[in-house]
Amino acid sequence: MALVCPPQLFYNTPTSDPLAQSLDFFVHVIEPIKDTLGVAWCTGSGYVIRREALSDVGNFPLGSLAEDVATSTLMLGKGWKTAYVHEPLQFGTVPEDYGGHLKQRTRWAIGTIQTAFKLNFCLWGSSVRQMTMAQRFSGALYATLGMFTILVTASLFAIPVVLMWGKPLIAFADNEQLRWLIRACFAATISNRLCEFALFIPAGYHTGQRDSRYQLWMSPYLALCIVRAFILPKWLGGQVVAFKPTGSLGSALNERDPKMKKNMLRRLWGILFNYMGFFHFTFVYVTLVAVVLTSYRCFYQGSTTKDIFIGLITHAFWPPLTFLFICTSLWTPVSYAIDPPTMPDRELLLERDQKTHVAHPTRQSKKVGFGGQAAMFELQYTAATAYTILIFVYSFFL
């Protein structure tokens, strides 16, 4: 055994955690799975390493943005074992502003892929010689999933483009086929919800949902940095760096500080222009316009109520209303700029021993509060599911 690592937990995650900064899904679901497969990672803090094993891999590898994961992967490649201790042993802080969060997450994404390229996606080569099948597959999978954010970003455009074009999202020859398409869609939606539920429970249901939305709104940032780091040549601006704001931000937005925070216009300007939230803003507007246009066409072209109804459900309103989910997820940066969460002073999150001055997080500060935002998203999701069920029922009368 070369290395043991505990989870990364936080004591300053704001209520509803709008930016999905807590790592609860990773530490309560993914890490235990990885540990079962013998691929516990070194996640950068709180770990204990055997010096002998560290010397064996030549100490910490240089030239990587994620030296921690690289270290543990190299150890696995030399035949050492790593373990994950799933106990609440350390509490840290999440980045306190939007820019810090983008920088942190893009750095992790680039670092993971960088390591993968160096180690041939953990598939072959001398540095992974002693790895088991499961370890190799996990290494390859994580790097692939990282690259995959480029595809996710491209896929975001599918729905607005098809709708703008005025085309239906599905194709069918007769009503019988439409009926079965609706039923298949219903079955997929319901089984997806059950799967999600089972998978999310160890980390908390809302944490899982937050992460699903995060995957969407974060993907343009990740894709941009990955393209810049690994695909663009240097003379086209290719560069291995985490996300940096464009232009001059002036001073920090301090958006979570009740006293120091900049006014709303200043925050919106910063996030829309310096942090490229303009992409998200435009995307949501274009998609909504596409929905309105295509629905207008349905009303215009349909002669009977049934025609109009079938037009609507085969275009924008195909269950489970994916456009709605994409739009509300991509709106995250904008709503965050308008209404950022407020965090109290760090000292109020800690309990300090008067004599020794040693401080530990309070019981309350270790939890992510449930707030109005999480409730709104759940309401939307429930409504979309109810709509899917209604359409399913309707399929029997079609």
């Binding site: 803090s45 201790v85 896929s155 760090r346």
Partner: protein, 175 residues
């Protein structure tokens, strides 16, 4: 869809794009699901604790680079406060931000805890310093030079991580 195209004698490029995208997006997530199910066996990590004073030696590195002095100090204080024999572990602050204030604060703390050290490496402009990895490697080199030499184990804490349990007592039975 093919039937529909035949029936109407037209092609539906949009629908094909949609299907292609759906499949492309589904492949990695299906791979992830498959990987998840691979781990469907029981995970077996007993919760163990190491007792007594006959314990291995460990160097705890606290890496920092420009964080607030108070934040780093809280981490160091908590690390010093561990329930672990003080002659068996050292807390080493590796400050890449070269904060004079932090140096002074750690100096005060070292008056009470003889096992606390402050170190800041020389960063030469133009020479790559490799961020955190460089900082940690510098720490590894430096502890080798300390009177007692390197410890058997090394541990690392981020500047803002407050730990409240002697991590080492849990780990070593595992290690």
């Amino acid at each position: 869809m093919i039937l529909a195209e035949r029936l109407h004698g037209v092609t539906y490029p949009g629908a094909w794009v949609f299907i292609a995208v759906e499949i492309a997006v589904a492949i990695p997530s299906q791979m992830h699901n498959f990987w998840t199910m691979w781990a469907l066996k029981r995970r077996n990590r007993p919760k163990l604790r190491l007792q007594g004073n006959e314990v291995p030696t460990v160097d705890v590195f606290v890496t920092c680079c420009g964080e607030d002095d108070e934040v780093v100090l809280d981490t160091v204080r908590a690390a010093c406060d561990l329930d672990y024999p003080s002659d068996k572990f050292r807390v080493i602050v590796l400050d890449d931000g070269k904060s004079e204030g932090l140096k002074a604060l750690i100096g005060q703390l070292a008056a009470d805890h003889s096992n606390v050290y402050y170190m800041a490496r020389q960063k030469i402009p133009g020479v790559p310093h490799h961020f955190k990895a460089g900082n940690l490697n510098y720490g590894l080199d430096q502890v080798d030079k300390l009177p007692k030499g390197a410890s058997e184990f090394m541990a690392a804490l981020d500047a803002d991580m407050v730990n409240f349990f002697p991590l080492c007592r849990l780990y070593f039975p595992n290690v």
